[in-house]
């Protein structure tokens, strides 16, 4: 279903429909994330991907154009590149650890410490929250700065300040 939505998005010439579909796509992937036990991530993906991103896309479309122009030249080069990369990656997954196996290497290095000790050390039941905010507070600080910077960047790019109004008068 996810793949179907994805492919419909690229086939779609109407950008309005494509952005709505990308919202649906986000919701579907959030469902998959719940299935994979990542409730925090699914929550974020649902609110960010299906909510904010779609609204921003629609706002941009209102400012620009609604439909995409048909590509003038049909080229098979991108398709070929994509198929080759995909084949290489699928070949790569054959060496990857099997899905969901508790014996996988990722589950044995740092994770057990968080899973076993974080509740005793911080008193916070949600391990994701305690790791995010306490053990890896630096990451989250940097991330908040990224969000802040993005906000400032959009303001700088799009806000019409006093000076531009004065220039318009001239």
């Amino acid at each position: 279903m996810l793949v179907g939505t994805g492919i419909t998005i690229i086939r779609q010439q109407n950008l309005l429909a494509a952005s709505m579909l990308s919202g649906i796509y986000s919701l579907l992937s959030a469902c998959w994330m719940v299935e994979l036990d990542a409730v925090d991530v699914a929550f974020t993906e649902a609110s960010v991907g299906a909510g904010i991103s779609t609204v921003l896309m629609l706002a941009t479309l209102a400012l620009t154009t609604r439909s995409e122009k048909k590509p003038v030249h049909k080229s098979f080069l991108p398709l070929f590149v994509v198929l080759a990369t995909g084949a290489a990656l699928i070949y790569g997954t054959l060496g990857a650890p099997p899905y969901g196996d508790p014996a996988n290497v990722v589950h044995h290095h740092v994770a057990p410490r968080y899973v076993n000790d974080s509740y005793d050390e911080t008193g916070i039941p949600n391990i994701v929250t305690s790791v995010l905010a306490s053990y890896r507070g630096y990451d989250t600080l940097g991330e908040t700065s990224v969000v802040f910077t993005a906000g400032v960047g959009v303001l700088l790019l799009l806000k019409r300040g006093k000076r531009s109004k004065r220039e318009e008068k001239k």
Partner: protein, 120 residues
């Protein structure tokens, strides 16, 4: 056969990733490119989350009083939580740039922007 099934999730992720990649490199429209970038991004998130899953595990929220509960690996979740928020910031910034390009050139198609550049 079991080997085939155990990598099924990875393959779906790769198909999605390639869908996004194809959109980015083959489409000229910049909004479409950003949508493709979003698809690519989500597929990477799903790849990480897939790696963190343990079969028979549950969400990593400690249930007091219960021992022997298997929790899925919380570290990929933390990383991806950060990545999603950074992703939406970059998307917003990209869309803002698209709006500016539209105002400066009157189009959001890549080849038309290039043609305009050559003409100037």
């Amino acid at each position: 056969m079991s080997h085939l099934f155990s990598h099924y999730n990875y393959w779906i992720v790769i198909v999605l990733m390639m869908t996004g990649f194809y959109t980015v490199i083959s489409r000229g429209n910049m909004v479409k490119k950003l949508i493709g970038l979003n698809i690519f991004q989500t597929s990477v998130f799903l790849l990480f989350i897939t790696m963190g899953k343990i079969k028979g595990g549950t969400a990593p929220i400690v249930m007091a009083g219960k021992e022997d509960v298997v929790y899925s690996n919380p570290i990929p979740h933390v990383l991806i939580l950060t990545a999603i928020v950074v992703g939406v910031s970059t998307t917003a910034l990209g869309l803002a740039l698209v709006v500016r390009i539209k105002e400066a050139y009157g189009t959001v198609e890549e080849d038309e922007v290039q043609a305009e550049d050559i003409r100037r």
